[in-house]
Amino acid sequence: MSFSTPVFLFLFFPLIILGYYLIHPKLKNAFLLIASLVFYAWGEPKFIVVFLVIILFNYFAGLLLGVDNFKYSRRMVLIPVLAGNIGLLFYYKYLMFSTEIINNVFDAGLTLKEIALPLGISFFTFRSISYILDVYWGTTRMQKNPINVALYISFFPQVSMGPITKSNVFLSQMNNRHWELNTFTCGIKRFIIGLAKKLIIADTLSAIVAPVFLMSADERTVVAAWYGMIGYCLQLYFDFSGYTDMAIGLSKMFAFETPENFNYPYIAKSITDFWRRWHITLGDFFKNYVYFPLGGSRKGNVYVNIFIVFFLTGLWHGAAWSFIVWGLWHGLFRLIEMAYKRSKIELKIPSVFKHLYVISVVAMGWVLFRADNLLSGVKYWGNLIGIGTTSFSDSYSLFTLKSTMNIFIIGIFFCFPVAKKTQELVRKKKELYNFVNNVLMTAIYVGLLLICIAYMQIGTYNPFLYNNF
């Protein structure tokens, strides 16, 4: 069930929010767990058993790891549990890809039936791993109550696309959260913003980006290649950050605080900075559970550690060479930046060039990320500078660009923290701020909500992009 569908907004959400606030406080977590399982089963009924097995497996593993006087080495428990979680992820997500590689390299002729991917498997596996490792390291207390573990893994606002909240952050709020008007209202507003990002910007751009990537390299014009690439940069950001806003907003309505996942990534001045702003919780996961255990920048070879992290980042997004190369593409620039930093050479580069550098690397990376395969992605790069294309522009490209120019402008505008800065500026003028906040902003939110409902009434179902991962 997607947040941007009428079924969610007008059926699931009101029932759950009403039930949650009417039910006895002691039953709230159990109620949320049932709601989360219904939410998951609505989209993936056939995987609900797998999902429950994963939850129970990690619950019991956590119990074992958390026993104070465990007579065996806890590592003996940890390794099979991690292997179980990663193995399941491997089976659903990477087995087909691995078989393909084996067949190509060894001409093995292995055949495999198509394996369907359970919704959100990459996200809930990482949350499971987070719980297990945190219990192992003692940063989270082992949970005796299975509802706590189950709700952490399955919490419906975050189950399909994150954010990947750390177990200690989530579990510490399990029995320690209270309704506050401010938080609840903030959650509603955040949800509406996310809905608007998804429906008004991302889905509109999807209609023009998809055909560009479907075109063969020779029929794609230079103009189409450029608006397709920029359009995808914006689509992906507004789609994913829109989902995150909705997830954070919903979590707030249930009085859960959730870490931010985005912080205006396209204003970054370096790739290192970009990864501090883009999919922050995934970056944190790899930092805490891969990079630091590998030795980080203190032990071992830091360049190798970074390489591994970016290789895994690419692989996490999908079982295809294009994702792996995309991860390594970012890793390459991250390594160059690190080498530059360590060399202590200081060049005075104007900010505008730093931004241009980041945008270029990121946008070209997204082309690989979006393309059907690596070769298509590389050919797309060629199209950007007129290689492999027959014309610079055609009437179709110009029509499409002209038709969506305003959405491009709006999208680019909201990639910058202009609204945030404006609100901060207005807040300083206290009286004006009160007026603006009370009347104008409420009107804007109501207007946006109504427009989003209008978009829902028209739109064909357009799943969130990160649902695929």
């Binding site: 569908t5 009428p6 079924v7 007008f10 059926l11 009101p14 609505w42 008007l181 401010n182 609840f184 209202t185 903030c186 509603i188 507003k189 509406i192 008004i200 509109t204 999807s206 209609a207 023009i208 998809a210 055909p211 479907l214 075109m215 029929e219 055609d394 009437s395 179709y396 110009l398 029509f399 499409t400 002209k402 038709s403 969506t404 120019m405 305003n406 959405i407 709006i410 009160n434 906040n437 009370n438 902003m441 409420t442 939110y445 109501v446 909500l449 109504l450 427009i451 409902i453 209008a454 978009y455 829902m456 009434q457 028209i458 739109g459 064909t460 357009n462």
Partner: protein, 380 residues
Amino acid sequence: MKKHSDMISFIVIGVVFVLLIGMNWGNYANIAQTVIWKLQGNTDVKAKENISSALKESFKFRDKFIDLYGVTKKALGENIIGEYEYVKDEMGVMQHILGTQPADQSNYIESVKNLLALLNERNIPCIDVNLPDRGQSFLAADKLEYSCKRNREIEDKIISFGVDEFNVQKRLVDAGIISQKDFFFHTDIHLTSKAEFLMAKYLTEYLTEKYFISFPNSDIVYDFNMYDWQDHDFCGNFCGSTGKKYIELDNFQTFVPQYETNMKLTLPDGNIRQGDFINVMTNQYTDEGSYWVLNYGQWSKLYYTYENLKYPNAPKLLVVADSMFMRANTFLALNTSRLTVFDPRYINGSEDAINCLLDDDYDAIIICHVEYFNNVKFAI
């Protein structure tokens, strides 16, 4: 003060949301019923579809929300609707985009070939009505598939193996009898009533000129002044996706002959209607919000026959067409003794459907191809 502002936002947004739910209370009753049926083990109930539909297609004031969608799209200057399903072209005319890949037309081509062989044996002429290109002024037409473009491709093919062509673009639009703008609605895939009237008129003339088929009542039937034309604001089938505010509304002209008519309609199920034009040839729509196109003809019927009881010796025609030619059919029927309309879209497994309808006494077979015929086999 911050608390007050939160309270205001909370109350206003909450009230709007509760109002939206309240307005749809009836839909929630349907959802509850669906859930109960499902829980009772009724496997025929498609719960997900029913629930989705109750909150989307049956959503209260859905048309107003679609209008709001159109207003927003217009304010944003967007000409592309949905997933490139519709576009507003440079002339402000809506185009229904069918993708980027050409359609497989083999079934249709084969059927027309078979039909032509039958007709040649029986010496019955076969004429294809070649409609103008709706996307003539649509810049992005080169790379996109839309109905008129696909029609043109298929018509070129069937003409190449011997079907005669009545080229409406050349005979009506280029000749200045009707402008491209007056030929099509902005908001609907169909043709204006005036366009269909003129198509019937000039097609009749063509049949007389080329095939010496003589029609008894042309002077009256094709006199524009012999009808009571009434104007209605019309938001056609594209409005379901764009609302009434996105593009300029059309004017739909309904018409009633101001001369005596005596017609009979026979439907496939054996039902018969007999009487004047209004009783037989219209579906007697009166509501201003009607989808006026379907006021004429028998939409969703595989075939039906009009008999003009006033002119039993007039020519007989068989027309292969969909709703794109329904009003033209009514004008043709007023000038023939028998007119059978055959819409291949509604064939259900019977690939020889037209073979059964054919008899030797048709004076001509008219085909008005539309893209939706591509996948059907209707003649063996």
